[in-house]
Amino acid sequence: MAFNSIADFFSMGGYGFYVWLSYCVSFLSLIILIINTINRKNKIIKMLNKRIARQQRIKNAPSREGIL
């Protein structure tokens, strides 16, 4: 272990601000990238489901020829 106490660990020899800023921003951007990827997947699947539902409706719709 390179540090003697938890306070030492957080202060990072006086460079705490820069070290923690780097780590936080980096991991945050990676997490945002993951969330964006999953969101996009959900959006595409929703779009495909809509398309399937529409096809079903077209298939099941009663013929209108008799009405018109």
Binding site: M1, A2, F3, F9, M12, G13, G14, Y15, Y18, V19, L21, S22, Y23, V25, S26, S29, L30, I32, L33, I34, N36, T37, I38, R40, K41, I44, I45, M47, L48, N49, R51, I52, Q55
Partner: protein
């Protein structure tokens, strides 16, 4: 010998293969990320000159390396996409670009946060920093160009051409510290020489490089699958796949 690869030129087969590989990539990158970060932050000794601020290297160097690795794979895919007109290669280009852009941003940001306490400036217009910034702009340009066309065939081709043009920036980034005098120091890890880093500091760095590579692989697989679904949304196999997925989910809910 290429015959065995032919089925994977079919989007359906690639989609399934990517889906099979994905969980392993997720597990592997999660483990390496945790081990590398804990080792780098807690157990690696402080540097004799820079003290604890050097721990930023465990994000900075892997992100910069993988940003360039991502670009190289995009360039290869773009070349294949243009010459053989394989749609999956185009999809690979566009699936990788956002990951590379985020890695480049991380490399630039951590570099600035490291430069301020050590060099005395957040930013200096030296050849290494400037060429890395250009890499970010190229990544953003590729993404913007792809999204600018509503015709995705045309969009894919335009993005591939821009990717190939931008590949010239890679050797410039790599050799900038050798060709010109810069504030940025030379490479710590290079292929042919002994790394100029103590071994107990080097191990976590290697693990973090592997972690970033695995993360790149994970996100590439996820985005690759997304883009296949989006581009093939009119094909019967995609609709069939979604229908069976839905059916399975309903079964589970019951």
């Amino acid at each position: 010998m290429w015959k065995c690869l032919h089925p994977y030129a079919k989007p359906e087969k690639s989609y399934q293969l990517a889906g099979k590989l994905l969980p392993w990539f997720i597990i592997f990158s999660a483990i390496t990320f945790i081990v590398g970060t804990v080792w780098g932050l807690l157990f690696a000794p402080a540097d004799y000159q820079q003290g604890d601020s050097f721990r930023i290297i465990y994000i900075h160097v892997p992100a910069a390396m993988m940003a360039m690795a991502a670009y190289s794979s995009m360039a290869m895919a773009a070349f294949v996409a243009l010459v053989w007109q394989i749609r999956l290669a185009e999809i690979t280009v566009i699936a990788t670009a956002p990951v590379g852009a985020v890695f480049t941003f991380i490399a630039l940001f951590t570099g600035a946060a490291w430069g301020k306490p050590m060099w005395g400036a957040w930013w200096v217009w030296d050849a290494r920093l400037t060429s890395e910034l250009i890499l970010l702009f190229i990544y953003l340009g590729i993404i913007a160009l792809y999204n600018a066309f509503s015709d995705k065939v045309l969009a894919g081709r335009a993005a591939s051409i821009l990717t190939l043009v931008g590949v010239i920036n890679l050797p410039i980034i790599h050799y900038s510290v050798v060709w010109w005098n810069t504030l940025h120091q030379g490479a710590t890890i290079s292929k042919f020489e002994k790394p100029s880093m103590a071994i107990e500091m080097l191990w976590p760095l290697i693990i973090m490089i592997i972690a970033f590579a695995a993360f790149l692989g994970t996100l590439m697989l996820m985005r690759f699958r997304n883009e296949i679904l989006a581009r093939e949304s009119h094909r019967p196999w995609v609709l069939r796949l979604i229908e069976t997925d839905d059916a399975q989910r309903l079964q589970k809910d019951k």
